[in-house]
Amino acid sequence: MSFIKNIYHQAVSGTRHLGKMSLFLINVASSIPKKKVEGYQIILQTYYIGAQTISIIVLSALFVGSVLAIQGNYILGMFAATDQLGQFVALSVFRELGPVITALLFIGRSGSTITSEVGIMKLTDQINALKSMNISISKYILFPRFISAIISLPLLTMLFNAFSIVGAYIISHYSLRLDTGLFLISIHRYVSFWDDAMAGLFKTLFFGTIAATIALYYGINSSNSSPGVAEASTKTVVYSSIVVLLCDYILTSMLMRLW
């Protein structure tokens, strides 16, 4: 009985958070900055959230591409189809791995940063100080981070996609000794820009919205203590990752029917 009660309470609490988060999302998304100072924050946050994540994305993409090339070569080798390696890597990355891995890396790096930064601002009274100066928290703190995440994630995904192909190309040429001409031709012939690359990038708009909303929500609602901020960062990473994967499943199912 207590087990059922526990599940019931968890479900109620989860639904309440979901409701609050939806209202929070509407509030943040509608707080469009009108002042120059707020607009400048968007550029600044895009640099912090997006540009400073580039090195992690590029490095990870090179390794993911390399691993895909090795695994692809093994699997395709069973069917004597190693000339399709380029297509195999590109389709895997563009349609699925690129958007999802970039989103997960982004959550780990920028999502947790957003939560800790906002949580610490709250903990050290910086948020109260801004309020006391009649500065809108939604417009000055929340919206710039929110929109920067939505702008950054598709751009980072493009980078991830490109460097995965580079990684796979390098491995297929120098390690697997495959014909790189065939590698590139199979990509050119079988990978569609609209159906494959754009479908993946389309998903990142949702992933960016999810990552930013959860990060900001837990940051601004973190309790006023160091463990509270740490807990909020952990929640951001865990919940964002799960919701992104769930959203990926839903979007992929829908896109496969539409496209």
């Binding site: 050290t124 910086q126 006391s132 500065i135």
Partner: protein, 243 residues
């Protein structure tokens, strides 16, 4: 009593479900320095939050009246931990409220900010970040930011906390200077008795959800209340006080 700037009547203040103040009346006179004193945890900061509009009282009325009686009261707040924005320099911290609320040419913003920083003797540190400042410098930078918009009333939450005696003394002088030059009203929350007796025009001493004593420094010093006497005792004798 002169013109009251803030009048609070029958205030009941709660923190979560715990009652902090029960049915207290506070009057803040214009262009004077009023100090709220009392032991730690008595709820002075909560009272400041209520009076500055950061927090709502459970019941009671707070009336704000400024000179012209037409514009809303402009407030500046000095937070206990300074609350400077860590990603901005001292200059940017002070410039932020000015840039946010007014569309002024950058030269004018620079001039205004440097004027505030000169007032707190911090012009030389304008390019430093909060993490590069000493405790006293951070406090002065926070004071400069709190006066950036030329407020009618400035709330100081524990301005002397964590400061050495020389720094505390210079901050007390700075508060006095701000009152004079800005024609502002100050509310100070502190348990630094010695400096407060010199600085304040009116003092409220709180104990257990109520006002234990109130009056001019001399009147408070002559209070017979046992709690007030024990709270002020190390400072009662041989100290200069503000009449």
């Amino acid at each position: 009593m002169n013109t009251p700037l803030i009048q609070a009547k029958n205030l009941h203040i709660y923190h979560d479900s715990q009652c902090i103040f029960r049915n207290i009346d506070i009057t803040i006179e214009a262009n004077k320095t009023t100090a709220f004193m009392g032991p730690s945890g008595v709820g002075k900061s909560s009272l400041l939050q209520v009076l500055s509009g950061q927090k709502k009282q459970r019941s009671g009325k707070i009336l704000h009246t400024n000179k012209a009686n037409t514009q809303p009261l402009k407030t500046g707040i000095l937070f206990q931990n300074n609350a400077l924005l860590l990603h901005l320099t001292v200059f940017e911290n002070v410039a932020l409220p000015i840039r946010y609320h007014f569309q002024l040419p950058e030269e004018l913003v620079h001039e205004l900010v440097m004027m505030k920083l000169h007032a707190v003797n911090l012009a030389h540190a304008c390019e430093l970040y909060p993490e590069q400042l000493s405790g006293g410098m951070s406090r002065r930078a926070a004071i400069a930011r709190s006066i950036a918009l030329d407020p009618n009333i400035i709330f100081y939450d524990e301005p002397f906390a964590g400061q050495d005696p020389i720094n505390a003394e210079s901050i007390a002088k700075l508060i006095k200077k701000m009152n004079t030059y800005l024609d502002a009203t100050s509310i100070i929350i502190t348990h630094e008795v010695h400096l407060t007796l010199q600085l304040a025009d009116y003092i409220y001493i709180f104990d257990k959800q109520r006002i234990a004593s109130q009056g001019k420094p001399k009147e408070v010093l002559q209070d017979d209340n046992a709690f007030v006497r024990s709270f002020l005792s190390p400072n009662i004798n041989n100290r200069s006080v503000n009449n």
